[in-house]
């Protein structure tokens, strides 16, 4: 029973990896997610290909924002619990960002061709 559950769960767990490898194999638009929880961005560093759309989902019970460290590249509105924000990264580079409400919360999106 447990093994069955694990087998069932496995594809879901591996899904982000599968998307990544597909994107590497073909130029289909890539998507990735960052989850906000316990005042942290997870994963803190996320690597994607150019053209990828990253979605941040606030799973915390307190509002957060997603703002590029340079405050120009991208900036979300305030995200209440359950709200999300998406941004498509077209140019390679390293994009540091933070929560402008709780600036000790930081993360980074690395955009590079594979």
């Amino acid at each position: 029973m447990l093994q069955t559950l694990l087998k069932r769960a496995a594809p879901a767990v591996l899904a982000p990896c599968a998307v990544v490898s597909l994107a590497a194999a073909a130029p289909a638009p890539q998507t990735a997610q960052v989850t906000i929880g316990n005042f942290t961005f997870g994963p803190a560093v996320l690597t994607v290909s150019p053209g990828a759309t990253v979605t941040w989902l606030n799973g915390d019970d307190i509002p957060h924002t997603v703002v590029a460290a340079d405050k120009r590249a991208f900036r979300s509105k305030v995200l209440d619990s359950g709200d999300s924000f998406a941004f498509t990264f077209t140019r390679p580079g390293s994009y540091a960002y933070f929560c402008s409400i709780h600036p000790h919360m930081t993360g980074k999106i690395v955009v590079k061709s594979r």
Binding site: D61, P63, F98, I101, P103, M105
Partner: protein, 310 residues
């Protein structure tokens, strides 16, 4: 005439010639040489007259999650507590996070509830009050009358100097609270003419000392502000943000954080993250509250009392 008698003589008669008068106020002894024509009846700085004032903080109007489904109701209870005080306070200081999401209706409700206290209110913003499209302009338009820059101000009341600082504006990645150079330059000018014996009360949202860096509970450039306040004999720093009473004394400076009226947060570093501390409904009100401060002449002119909602 012995000096003690001479002093007493001066006090009793209000002698208005040239003389040396010792006063002790704000914890600092000062010898003031009175110029001719400047007698005791017209001191150079206002004497401290007793009064009380109230600090409320972190009302988070709009918050409706565990452990408080209705932050409006608990804020109303806090205001009822203020109304029930035996001595009518001179005013209220709200140390920020009036709202949860800077929505107009949240500010409207907060104002309506606070108006029931029937007292003047001085606000400084919290980071939750900077979430409108224009990053804090809504707060400033509503509460910033008579303020400078991003909403900082000072005023005097009965011999005490009050300074409201803003440390939630334009925060930097990886940082904590931030005052900024323009505000620090203004603070320097604002404090310059004051006698060191003047009691000073500084109020701001995020603590002006580092309580817990990992959670951002501090202000990056607070040391510069504290350096400007070092010469004063009595400095009281009132903050919110961390939703619990923590105090520290450093020389003549007393730092005090206040309870929220909406929800408590964990003690510094206890648990994985800050945020609403889940409590059973019956225990919530013991973790919320208001603070009353009393001012009276003497070596320690300010005293405070924190009262829980229940």
């Amino acid at each position: 005439m012995a000096e003690a008698h001479r002093r007493r003589f001066l006090e009793c008669l209000g002698w208005a010639g040239t003389g040396l008068v010792w006063t002790v106020s704000g914890g600092v002894s000062t010898a003031a040489l009175l110029a001719a024509g400047e007698g005791l009846a017209a001191p150079r700085k206002p004497a401290i007259q007793p009064f009380t004032f109230v600090q409320v903080s972190d009302s988070h109007i709009g918050f409706n999650k565990d452990p408080n489904p209705d932050a409006r109701a608990t804020f109303r209870e806090a205001v009822a507590k203020i109304r029930a005080l035996p001595d009518k306070p001179a005013f209220i200081l709200h140390t920020g996070d009036v709202s949860q999401l800077s929505k107009p209706e949240e500010f409207d409700d907060a104002d309506q509830i606070l108006r029931e206290a029937g007292l003047p209110v001085f606000h400084v913003p919290g980071e939750h009050d900077m979430l409108d499209e224009r990053e804090g302009q809504a707060f400033l338009e509503r509460y910033g009358h008579g303020t400078l820059g991003d909403g900082w101000r000072s005023f005097d009341h009965n011999g005490v100097h009050f300074v409201g600082l803003v440390n939630v504006k334009d925060l930097k990645a990886g940082g904590m609270g931030h005052l900024g150079e323009p505000q620090l330059a203004w603070l320097k000018k604002d404090l310059a003419p004051l006698a060191a014996s003047t009691p000073v009360v500084v109020y701001a949202h995020i603590p002006l000392w580092t309580i817990y860096r990992e959670w951002g509970w501090g202000t990056d450039d607070s040391a510069q502000a504290m350096a400007l306040l070092k010469r004063f004999g009595s400095v009281t720093v009132l903050n919110g943000h961390i939703h619990q009473v923590i105090q520290k004394t450093e020389g003549d400076v007393t730092f005090q954080t206040a309870r929220s009226t909406a929800f408590p947060q964990p003690a510094p570093g206890q648990g994985r993250a800050p945020g609403p501390l889940k409590l059973p409904a019956g225990k919530l009100r013991a973790a919320l509250g208001v603070r009353t401060l009393s001012v009276a002449p003497g070596a320690h002119p300010l005293s405070l009392a924190d009262a829980a909602l229940a």
